[in-house]
Symmetry: C2
Amino acid sequence: MKKYDKVVKNAVGRLVPTEVNGVAQHPFMGIGKYKPVGRKYAPQIASCADYPADGNKTIPTLKDALIKSGLRDGMVISTHHHFRNGDLIAIQIFEIAKELGIKDLVWVPSASFECQSVLTEYLADGTIHHIEGSMNGSLGRFTSEGKMKGLGILRSHGGRYQAIQDGEVVIDIAVIAAPTADAFGNATGDRGPAACGLLGFALADSQYANKVVVVTDNLVPFPCIPWQIQGNYVDYVVVVDKVGIPEKIVSGTTEVTKSPDRLLLAEWTAQFCDEAGIIKDGFSFQAGAGGTALSIGIYFAEILKERGMKSRWARGGSNKYLVKMLEDGLLDYILDGQTFDLEGVRSMRENEGHVNTSPFTSYNYHGKGNFSSMVDVVILGATEVDVNFNANVVTHSDGYLLHGIGGWQNCLHAKCTIIPVPLFRDRIPVILDEVTTICGPGELIDVIVTERGIAINPKRTDLIEKMKNSKLPIRTIQELKEEAERICGKAAKPKLSDEIVAVVKWVDGTIIDSIRKVEK
Amino acid sequence: MKKYDKVVKNAVGRLVPTEVNGVAQHPFMGIGKYKPVGRKYAPQIASCADYPADGNKTIPTLKDALIKSGLRDGMVISTHHHFRNGDLIAIQIFEIAKELGIKDLVWVPSASFECQSVLTEYLADGTIHHIEGSMNGSLGRFTSEGKMKGLGILRSHGGRYQAIQDGEVVIDIAVIAAPTADAFGNATGDRGPAACGLLGFALADSQYANKVVVVTDNLVPFPCIPWQIQGNYVDYVVVVDKVGIPEKIVSGTTEVTKSPDRLLLAEWTAQFCDEAGIIKDGFSFQAGAGGTALSIGIYFAEILKERGMKSRWARGGSNKYLVKMLEDGLLDYILDGQTFDLEGVRSMRENEGHVNTSPFTSYNYHGKGNFSSMVDVVILGATEVDVNFNANVVTHSDGYLLHGIGGWQNCLHAKCTIIPVPLFRDRIPVILDEVTTICGPGELIDVIVTERGIAINPKRTDLIEKMKNSKLPIRTIQELKEEAERICGKAAKPKLSDEIVAVVKWVDGTIIDSIRKVEK
């Protein structure tokens, strides 16, 4: 099987393969242009006659569960990333597979973390054929160096749900690590020694995988309430000593920034939202977990409090700042896709207004609508932005694939998308003529905020009009790029070969860009 | 299209058609014997590009929604019955269809009520071809008289989920009346002027129907929390003045019985459970909403309280007695499929331990297990029982089809199934040589409690052993039947023609019995 076949130019001018790992692909055609025609993936019909009447699906070990699930060469195995850098289960799956001499597995994590870097060994020895998910850090570097047997496929959180729902990825065995579960397989993330908040990233896996294994270190008597994952989808339950390392579950930047430049970005972003009339009673927002984004949330809270207003809902990534807004009555609902700290976990357990969501509700583009397009304003990061407002979140200026997409592409559908970025990092300009990898097309990106000025996408004449008397330094993106180049010089192009090592899917399953091997 | 074709004898000796309304059927083969081989029904893939980005799916009228949904001859239309006898929407659908000159619709309600008796007119004039669901009261009488154009199909609540999931029933348009909803289509039953508790009977419809219309009289700003029905499945939202008549939503017997005979049945049933060792710390039970069943629940509560024990979970039908147990700390969880009174509605809204379930979690036989087989003891009613412990819940001794199956068949899978029935009703014996219609095979029915004695199914040697020193009047079913006949004389057989007017499905989609036309 060839890694990929024949490339064509897609709607954003990128060359993308028409076949990946033996499967035919559609090139990106523009926002909303590709219309799916088929039917959702249809899992096999089960029968209660084949499951224990007393509801006890426990089985002694993960190895037993994998063998009973029919683990064999070439299977597609999925895991979720709610334990983040404290995950203990994904690696065990491949250790067991290797021990059993299984080859060419496809790993479909909802995201990968540095704690899983040892999996490069399993990629190297052929246990894992390729990854469809995120290839972060060491796994990304391995991919960028062209060492992965198959082609990597990067998808957003919503794209992952879409791909599983649509049958583009057919999961043979889903392994769902759960902080609390009952013997029937009902599971929750909001309690237990390794509580991680929710398990929404495993929802599609539970619904569509052929075999579903729940692994927990906290087995409770039926019923496990809430049942974020429903036991009616589950085949086996495995009890282990430790399902995750709690102190590593909470990772990423969870403190507000102290950098004066970052604080300026946050302040200007909040001020921009205010002057553009976005901040009003009942508005909705989504901000990520980085230090800048957290600071913006705090500015929002201050503005709301001062004016006696409240936000109706925030999409999360929840954290202690968002929880405080909820508990201070500045926010009616947190629609949470992933808890970033323990306050988020606590709040999800305790507050009725802190609601467990999933990529199905929030991000799946092949649904009858989703939440992302209803958000009034979303604040996102990027590794690179270009003069056409295209942005990159997966590769660095040196061309290395070092990040997953997360919910980033999905969030771009908000009513206003703002990307606050420094004008340069380590003296390398962030605003370029052309991004290394297009993850999001410029037509969905409305505002770029830098410490030297703010650029509004020319398509957003409404925002330009609203800001025409602003004291904020509104500039063109071209002006910002030139300023960066004046200071740092023109950015060197990364040294890339023609060989494609991974592709980036758009939210509709089409390919928006290719990632190329880095020349040493 | 013939109503039905060629009959064969099934595993309980009943003649059942091999084809119904043009669709091939499987005869009942025995408990757990029919193994499904196909895949679940796969709905068409949608795209957010076809739905409003701002999430506003409202459309002025139900008529507009039905037209936009493509309403045409022969379509399958579904409704739920959470409003019970206070439903206002089902009739409107067929009024609109008639006005538009649409013919031969198939109506798939999760249950029907007397408030819908006017639909006999739409059956008579050809607007509705036949009903797949329950044919109660007037609709049942109409069916029994052979007047329905197609053949009626009766399914249990779990069987309905199974049939929709498996694609045996493909719903073109699901109309989901909701006490509260947002413009995106998220909906809940636990609040609003016409609060009915939950909307679980509409879950399958939302997941699998081609078009989904939510009708509400209480539109709230996004997000409607909880979202018992998820807007991501919904096409249109219609706001009406009144979605249901609150005072009629709560119907059925919701007071404990005052009849001395019924109280005796309740007392003996509770005592039986106690002596058989079923009532213990952490046990689970399900009792219906009838006066006898309510009284049994009260006995259970008394026993638990006296001994300082608690039940882990009860399956409901919730009511004020069950809620009291929960709030008195005698019960950890109510896993509720349908609220029977306003206390149930309040409790579902207020108590974390009062959990909204669905036929998917509780009853679907074509899942990876379900809750029904985990219940320690279930108390059920019956119109007739026979000496082989077979029972009937749909037809009366005169042969008329007057009831739906509800969750009755599903509940039979409990660890112990007890049916308390009077030995005779209106001087007609309830225990017969052979029931008019087999809804549940005797092998799943363990105990019959009557006011003249208790019969244990001979297959349950464990229960017979446990009760051998009991002071309760343990008798054989034959003895009970003979006693009834001594008092009332032998029951007259209903006058039935050979013509089949409806079939009763088993939980696995096979046909367990046929219902025949009543000869006047």
